[in-house]
């Protein structure tokens, strides 16, 4: 994929938002909130940051790869995959319908190009992405592995098993992102199970934390991703102090949809 200009990226984001609304509305089912909240992030990744090939290969050799841990925000991923050429945009209309490749949560069973593993049951994506990153190191493939997690999802214990592993092995070719929107099914994360000082938690696990406060501002998202990447490059030059060179791009996103499109693109 060629890198797109800022104006083009903003236009693509608008189109992706339209896709998300149409897909979810058509079946009156799905998770539009965080899908809309993460639109800039996905657009920035697939149309600017990642080196990737829509002529999909499972192994992703010589490419950057993305993994979605919070699989319920599949609409935004499907839209961005279609818009970047992995499959025809007409197929978006099959979302969550019988015999579709666009399952409610991302899956490989039906062979949808762009999806490399199923997700939906929360807490598993960071482990998977670390496995992919570890294999890339074994294969001497210098490309990055990206993974997105929800903030409520961080209540799952497996995330912290994976966080600990990354630090122990110095897995520095992964950029993990948390969609820190403060909401989960039963209410605000502060009420359901407070994440408290999330930055301190990740830092205590040995991660470098980068915070992007305006998660729906394309320039801010691009800057955050580039900072995360640069952080790795910086660390890689150091031959001794290599225990803290992987990055967590921590973004604040407004995410709850309250019915009308006018509310969608607000920042926190």
């Amino acid at each position: 994929m060629e890198q797109q200009s800022l104006d083009q990226l903003k236009k693509i984001s608008s189109q992706v938002r339209r896709d998300i609304l149409r897909m979810v509305h058509a079946v009156q089912s799905g998770h539009p909130g965080a899908s809309l909240g993460c639109t800039e992030f996905f657009t920035a990744l697939y149309f600017h940051e990642m080196k990737h090939n829509p002529a999909f290969s499972m192994s992703g050799e010589g490419e950057d790869m993305f993994f979605l841990s919070n699989g319920h925000i599949s609409p935004v991923w499907y839209s961005v995959l279609a818009r970047s050429g992995y499959f025809k945009t007409e197929e978006l209309a099959t979302f969550r319908k019988l015999n579709s490749r666009l399952q409610g949560h991302p899956a490989t069973e039906e062979g949808l190009p762009g999806i490399r593993i199923a997700s939906g049951s929360l807490g598993q994506g960071l482990s998977v992405a670390l496995g992919v990153a570890q294999a890339k190191k074994l294969n001497q493939d210098p490309h990055h592995v990206y993974v997105l997690m929800g903030d409520g999802e961080l209540q799952e214990g497996q995330i912290w098993e994976a966080a600990m592993y990354a630090a122990h092995y110095g897995v520095d070719n992964i950029i993990a992102t948390v969609d820190y929107n403060g909401q989960q099914i039963d209410g605000p994360t502060t009420a359901v199970m407070d994440l408290k000082n999330l930055r301190a938690k990740w830092e205590a696990f040995g991660w470098e934390v980068i915070e992007t406060k305006k998660g729906n501002d394309m320039e801010a998202v691009l800057a955050g991703l580039q900072e995360a990447k640069a952080s790795r490059a910086k660390g890689s030059q150091s031959s001794i102090s290599c225990t803290q060179k992987w990055a967590l791009a921590w973004t604040l996103w407004w995410a709850r949809i309250s019915g009308t499109a006018s509310h969608l693109a607000m920042n926190s």
């Binding site: 670390l130 990153a133 570890q134 074994l138």
Partner: protein, 323 residues
């Protein structure tokens, strides 16, 4: 007892099946540079130390974090690796069922779940560690292949075969020292059972440690004039239905034997096959829907009715039900 019997298979050495896994893994690692090992703080128990020494860059100690191990393994397959995860059968299945279901089975990932210390023969550690439900858990997952070899040689061969097979595999083996009675360097064909002894009166279908007990039971039954056919079902899924049906067409009754709960194990897979194709009397040598307890392997196998004597008794019961 074994010394005085006219056994069709004999042994000169005993060894644990987990050592067969450990040695098979080194061999698989030599054959294919994509084979990698992961272990959740049980390198010694799983006999993965030799692999770690031979291929330090391809071995990953993950600590006591089995859920993460399953996810890591699934991810590694995407980069073309063939990961073997190593921990006890209990922590290889029940503890991480959802990780296996979503990230490995549903995603069709080429992960080999190496599960040691399965069943009662784990012994003194007791029921917290003696999983008797793992075959059921794993065979219910679409795409999952389930293998439970019977001795050191077969476990080594199964490990090498699992590495060469494309798709998720659950490889179950155990802790105790056990007779080595199958050939060295045997060819292991996944999904293909092995008729070890010809017979005409009753078919003994066994998996894992119970295959040896069935060989002993055959000799005991022969002393009483009963000719038992012994089938070694090392692959529970996919099940070699042809071999089983060919045998029961002749014997018309069956005993299944396994170190597993009666619910969900080999016996139920055989019962389904028979119900659909050739209904006939079947008796079950298995744990009767209970947990285990602490004890020596031999004491436990005796108390829970998982030895040659129990197979003989069930064979007679099956024969008595033949019309």
């Amino acid at each position: 007892m074994e010394q005085t019997l006219d056994l069709k298979y004999t042994y000169t050495e005993k060894k644990d099946t987990r050592s067969g896994f450990g040695d098979g893994l080194v061999e698989a690692g030599k054959q294919n540079p994509n084979v990698v090992g992961l272990c959740a703080d049980l390198i010694g128990s799983l006999k993965m130390g030799d692999f770690q020494k031979a291929f330090p860059d391809r071995f990953f100690q993950v600590g006591i974090a089995e859920a993460n191990m399953m996810g890591l393994a699934a991810g590694m397959t995407i980069g073309g690796k063939i990961p073997f995860t190593g921990t006890f059968a209990n922590f290889s299945t029940g503890r991480v069922y959802d990780q296996i279901r979503q990230s490995i089975a549903y995603s069709g990932k080429n992960v080999k779940i190496a599960a040691s210390h399965a069943g009662l023969t784990l012994g003194e550690d007791g029921a917290t560690h003696q999983i008797l439900e793992d075959i059921g858990l794993m065979k219910m997952l679409p795409h999952m292949c389930v293998i439970n070899p019977c001795d050191y040689n077969q476990t080594k061969a199964a490990t090498i075969a699992a590495a060469a097979y494309e798709g998720p595999v659950y490889l179950r083996f155990g802790r105790p020292s056990w007779p080595i009675f199958t050939p060295k360097d045997q060819v292991f064909e996944i999904g293909k059972g092995w008729k070890m002894i010809e017979g005409s009166d009753v078919t003994l279908i066994a998996t894992g440690h119970l295959v040896w007990e069935s060989v002993v039971a055959e000799a005991l039954l022969r002393q009483e004039g009963i000719r038992a056919e012994v089938i070694n079902i090392h692959t529970i899924k996919p099940l070699d239905e042809t071999l089983i049906l060919d045998s029961v067409a002749k014997t018309k009754c069956v005993v299944t034997a396994e170190e597993h709960n009666i619910l969900g194990g080999l016996g139920e897979s055989v019962a389904r096959t028979l119900a659909q194709n050739f209904p006939c009397p079947q008796e079950f040598v298995a744990v009767m829907d209970s947990f285990g307890e602490s004890g020596t392997p031999a004491q436990l196998m005796e108390k829970y009715g998982l030895n040659a004597a129990a197979i003989v008794a069930k064979a007679k019961a099956a024969l008595a039900r033949k019309g």
